[in-house]
Symmetry: none
Subunit: 404 residues, 2 copies
């Protein structure tokens, strides 16, 4: 269903909704036949919600596709990530909370090493540490171009954000200069159409200054650019669902994705317990709350099965206090799976539970509690990630009838 269809049905009154995202919550057993991280965790409060709620699995992007953080969250927000595509440059800007403006062209950059013929010998400048990259990136931030502002911001190690703000209106359809391999020179900046030529001109002039500025650097003596992108012109989440909407997250990336769809966002400490006072303080000001827990994903990426279990259990203990703030409908899920066994994001469908509002009640399930196996047999079945938000909104009494 198109977001315009959703917007035509959405009503501005109803219960408050909490979307509690345990990043990368989905997992795998360490041994075939074993339990996943979520199944291992002792989660009496989530199990209690499940007992009078509904469960299922969601596929964030498409079967077999491991989502990045951007698409994974867009899907949870009801935006089909195959339709609502966000460029790598914009994601880089969200990740460092750069205040992108309409018309800016955001680009993901790498510091790299080239020889005296300009041939790339290391695409990541030896994975130069962040503290060593910092002064190099400050040099790049000092480059000045006529007819445009330019900004360079560190991301991590060799990675940085470049933002071009030409005085002329421009599009961002420009090919990557990063050839993706060593042993060749960087690609020229080529605009895909005349509409992207203003940004391409600025990028060329900026790049032309880089070798001089970085002439004294041992290994970070050139840059590679990819993912030229502008802020997308999308429907706003608060308009589509007619809810005043707040993101509460410790990491800028997640606040950024929430702001990208028009939510307000506030930062909290990187501790799930910090979510409780943050939610309680703003409960009267908003209808929808997106709460983000990062630790589960980090533990999964680190291959630390037990730490992921521990964080899930910690969040479970917070649930009663979160719900006591005045939440009517609760969604607990992840933006993707990050099985500790794989140490990476994966394509595995993500368990979710829905509780409160006019739901059906999870009468038919066993007693295994919230987990992948239980959700695979949940009353809602397997759905696309972007179908989850309309279900939550319907439960909250906020979605009207389609047709007469």
């Amino acid at each position: 269903m198109d977001l315009r269809d959703v917007a035509a049905l959405a009503q501005p009154t109803g219960e408050k909704i909490m979307l509690l995202v345990l990043d990368g919550i989905g997992g795998l057993p360490l041994e075939p036949g074993g339990l996943t991280e979520l199944e291992t965790a002792r989660t009496p409060h989530m199990d209690g919600l499940l007992a009078s709620g509904d469960a299922g699995l969601h596929v964030p992007v498409a079967r077999g596709v491991a989502p990045g953080s951007g698409p994974g969250h867009l899907s949870l927000f009801g935006f089909d990530p195959l339709e609502y595509r966000v460029g790598r440059g914009v994601l880089a800007a969200l990740g460092v909370e750069f205040p992108l403006q309409s018309g800016d062209v955001a680009i993901r950059g790498n510091l790299c090493t080239v020889d005296d013929q300009g041939i790339i010998t290391d695409r990541r400048a030896g994975r130069i540490p962040s503290d060593e990259a910092q002064p190099v990136l400050e040099l790049l931030d000092g480059i000045r171009i006529a007819g445009a502002q330019t900004f360079v911001r560190p991301v991590k190690e060799h990675r940085f954000l470049l933002v071009l703000r030409p005085e002329e209106a421009t599009e961002a359809g420009i090919a990557d200069t990063d050839p993706g391999v060593t042993g060749t020179a960087a690609q020229d900046v080529v605009a895909g159409s005349p509409a992207s030529e203003p940004a391409a001109r600025v990028a060329r002039e900026w790049l032309a200054q880089v070798p001089g500025v970085l002439a004294d650097q041992a290994r970070a003596n050139m840059v590679l650019l990819r993912g030229f992108a502008t802020l997308p012109d999308w429907p706003r989440f608060p308009d589509v669902f007619r809810m005043r909407s707040l993101a509460i997250a410790a990491y800028p990336m997640y606040r950024g994705v929430a702001r990208l769809v028009g939510m307000d966002a506030i930062a909290v400490e990187d501790d799930p317990a910090a979510l409780i006072p943050a939610l309680r303080n703003r409960i009267d000001d908003y209808d929808f709350f997106f709460l983000h827990v990062k630790g589960t994903d980090k533990a999964g990426e680190d291959g630390d099965f037990q730490r992921k279990v521990d964080i899930i259990e910690q969040v479970d203990e917070l649930l009663p206090d979160l719900l006591a703030t005045g939440i009517g409908v609760t969604v607990i899920t992840g933006d993707h799976s990050t099985p500790a066994r794989m140490r990476s994001h994966s394509w595995h469908p993500v368990p979710f539970l829905l509780h409160g509002g006019s739901g059906r009640g999870h009468r038919s399930e066993g007693t295994a509690g919230f987990g992948e196996s239980e959700c695979a047999h949940g009353s809602i079945g397997s759905i696309r990630g972007c179908e989850l938000m309309p279900l939550a909104v319907a439960r909250a009494g906020r979605l009207g009838k389609f047709g007469a």
Copy 2:
């Protein structure tokens, strides 16, 4: 799958199919953990079909979306209601069985109250009773416009149907005059494009006469118009599925939706028992039969859990006689859920059973009988409503192979 794809596969021979719709059959338990209306009902014959059939849940429009009767039935007929949209005016015409012609513009009207400045004080004229509205609507039906015929028909209380039949060809892209709120005047008639101007002109001239005609009325002294629509130009169900198709229904709305997709339709008394002789008498003349039972939806809308149970049980008792007419493949389902607990249409997926023909058999299920929990774990799983008809047609041996 597109209806053109279905049509390319459909074969004109095979078993006879009965689609038995218990309107609003899907429900909710009154208490968490309890039984739904369908689960409460004693349905030995449906349970028997399930024991050698297949079960699942269908989503009529989209997850989280409560369907109106029109979209709900279109979905059962295999027409994706997100693609095949029907205007409110056309639905109003179907509901009173007005014989719409190609080129007619059908409009849903409300009698309303305005003050002497033309400001709306009541959008429904105090929900004027039908018998009081009747003479007012006869006055409106008497309005005459040069270059067009116009028709006014009562719907219920303040609601009426207005049909414009201009001599000129016209489209119906005209904005509602109903502002949706009181304290303001009605909107002007504005055509969205020149192609809709002929109908807009007629609507303006018709509306200009209304204040004079209704000058003596105490509360129904003006009208509001919305949902300007023409008969859609859609594929015909009998052509798509290559079946001679008959609707048997007590209520005009359901015969109307069936006729909209090209079925024949006959009226019966508002008693499920009347379906048996109606089906028996026409069994040789058609391949497909859509039988409609309204009482389940009405009981749900009235919040009468037990009456909904009783009607389901009554229909169950009729099943052997219905099947004995010569039906090969049976589909039993609803067009949407109407939980008595909610007193309204809801978004909850709708249980269905498929029996007869070359089915799989319901081997994997328990013995709970036909109901939401059993169907949530049925062998077919959760599907879109518009996927149900191809499944039934395939079982009946009426759908050929896709590709060589």
